[in-house]
Amino acid sequence: MSARWIIPAIGTAVALVAVAGCGGSGGDDAAADGTITLTVKTFSQFGYEDLYKEYEASHPGIKIKADNIAKLADYTPKLQQWLTAGSGAGDVVALEEGILVKLMAKPDQFANLLDYGAGSLKGNFLDWKWNQALTTDGSKLVGLGTDIGAQGMCYRSDLFAKAGLPTDRDKVGALWPTWDAYLATGKKFAGANTGASFYDTSGSIYQNILMQQGDTTYFDRSNKLIVDSNPGVRKAWDQTISMVDAGLSGKLQMWSPAWNAGFKKGTFATIPCPAWMLGIIKDQAGPENAGKWDVARVPGEGAVRGGSFLAVTSQSKHPKEAAELAKFLTSPEGQTAAFKAKNNFPSAPKAIDDPAVAGAKNEYFNNAPVGQIFGKSAKELKPVYLGPDNQQVGDAIGDALTAVEQGKLKSEEAWTKALADAQRAAGK
């Protein structure tokens, strides 16, 4: 039986050797002729390839070495290794939102971008995006925003028609100005017995409601856990529970085979969809369902899930040049180019208003004007402070919600458990 443990062990060993190899090659960043090589580390797809070429062309003497790791889950531990080892992280690193909020607790591994003239760029970014990477005392800027997971509410127009609801996206959006109205629409939908559930899983609904409660969620600005005293959290919980009680949830686990198949079979009628999910829905639902899925606005005001930043490491030997590059890549023009390349939705209002973004339509979704819908939801969102252990507390509450959906716990039991788990996660 031990044989299966040897193989992953060898894999890990090989990976470690590979990492060591990468770390070793970072030394030749200042060539004899004065050319500076800047290393940029990214994960997934940032859509920067053309921007790198453009920057190299306009900045003779700078060469860019791009290192990309396909999966965020592989990237994060390596990033941590580079930061701890004090070498290998290169000059510019991409930080996903969840990682950034953790690192904000101890930002000394990154250069203060305010020292490199980034302060004047504040107006280039959505307020909350700017603030996320700024220390609470406002003295240090760790990163500059790249993309955001601006959201819409995707829905199956054929199921809506079956349930006697409007199918036009403006009328659908008008059905749910608030989450209470969304609940009422859901009850109407459930009453029509289409055989489908109203939404896929309560976790993402809860997350959306929570992020609209404004200002703080689980932690206050001094990183004290306020999950039990913040009325916004309890409100989001209660509203979600009332939807579970009304039988609106499909109780599907995100990314599970049943969830994937649900897009094609139409087992749920709505799902909050960040910009990046449109591609997933298209792939899962397949060409035969083209035009059945559509995008409307999200209930409440504004909705964003995740996003990323670029930071300059304090181990960089050329922080000034690296900061210039980060500024260029996150400029409205840079973000517009990244949107054109990989559909990464920009965090710069100017880029959001750029015709290339604002005018973007998605053919598969009945030519929905996704640029406008997402842009509106991104701009409406009020800043929310997350805190370093945000994700752990969020996971604890998400698991408790699932337990309620599964019928394993009553709402109050689950809430008590979630609070206890949250306290343990934050109190270590």
Binding site: W5, W255, S256, D399
Partner: protein
């Protein structure tokens, strides 16, 4: 001078050179990580870096962590469900394969097929089989009037699902080990037993099982080590969720370690969990050895 020095080195030095590759690799990838993990486990170390020596704090926190005890219970429960039926079944399969059969080679190779299948593929297929809404298992249970089961929702059902995956995968492997041991048993023992009037079952109990005991002990030890480290099957059963279900119904200690280290980025605590797994595996191994020795003493 030169040739004699060379030959002296050849005589005394070269054996060490020949065994050196293993020890070098073991030091780099076995011993060093083990010791380094022990060192990290005594420190407070998270994503923002090493925050200094904390002594045994991580361990005392671990002993007071209900999630750790829950994961341990899950691991031991899965160990029983995934080892006992597996080894019994393997014994029966081996006994059957040890008889003259048509297409014997085909069957003997056939039991190996599950091992060469990738774990991920196995887990995906089993994940579909145990699906709540459209799973085959629920479909079959529906034929006999059992209402659909949400396999991930409760402890016992999730354990059954995960252990069935492990059993399916490793029964054939153990059966082959038993088969090899059975073939080494001299035929005349069976002939003598037959003359004495012992039936097939009695022959199996009194000749086969005692004589393949070394193989039995080996498979038990290996199954326990594997079971203590069970990770991939429950992880993929939960669609990659390291917390193993909404109420941690099927989170094993290996998953708990992974969750602490690579989801919460609490490396110090994660390392303490890793060392605890190591110590527990040693402990279970020692218990196993004592029982094995007692059994051997008892029959001789």
């Amino acid at each position: 001078m030169r040739p004699s020095r060379w030959s002296r080195f050849d005589l005394h030095g070269s054996p060490y050179l020949f065994i050196a590759p293993f020890f070098l690799l073991f030091t780099a990838f076995g011993l060093f990580p083990l010791l380094y993990t022990a060192w990290v486990s005594l420190r407070s170390w998270d994503l923002t870096g090493d925050a200094g020596f904390v002594g045994l704090d991580n361990y005392s926190r671990l002993l007071g962590d209900p999630d750790f005890w829950n994961a341990l219970v899950n691991t031991l429960g899965l160990l029983v469900l995934a080892t006992v039926p597996q080894l019994l079944l393997a014994l029966i399969v081996a006994a059957l394969l040890n008889r003259p059969l048509r297409a014997l080679l085909l069957f003997r190779l056939g039991v190996l097929a599950p091992i060469v299948t990738s774990v991920a593929a196995v887990a995906i297929v089993f994940g579909q089989l145990y699906g709540r809404d459209t799973g085959l298992v629920n479909g079959l249970l529906g034929l006999v009037g059992v209402s659909p089961i949400d396999w991930q929702a409760s402890k016992l059902t999730s354990w059954i699902a995960v252990s069935s995956m492990v059993n399916w995968r490793w029964t054939g492997y153990n059966a082959l080990i038993y088969l090899a041991a059975m073939q080494a048993i001299p035929r005349d023992l069976y002939e003598a037993a037959q003359i004495d009037g012992a039936g097939a079952i009695r022959q199996f109990r009194n000749i086969t099982v005692p004589l393949i005991r070394p193989a039995l002990i080996f498979t038990v030890v290996m199954s326990i080590i594997g079971g203590m480290q069970l990770f991939t099957e429950p992880l993929l059963f939960g669609q990659g969720d390291v917390s193993g279900g909404s109420l941690r119904q099927f989170q094993t200690i290996a998953m708990f370690m992974f969750e602490q280290s690579f989801q919460n980025f609490d490396y110090g605590y994660g390392s303490a969990v890793a060392w605890m797994i190591f110590l527990l595996t040693v402990l279970v191994g020692v218990i196993n050895l004592l029982i094995g020795r007692r059994l051997r003493g008892g029959t001789q």
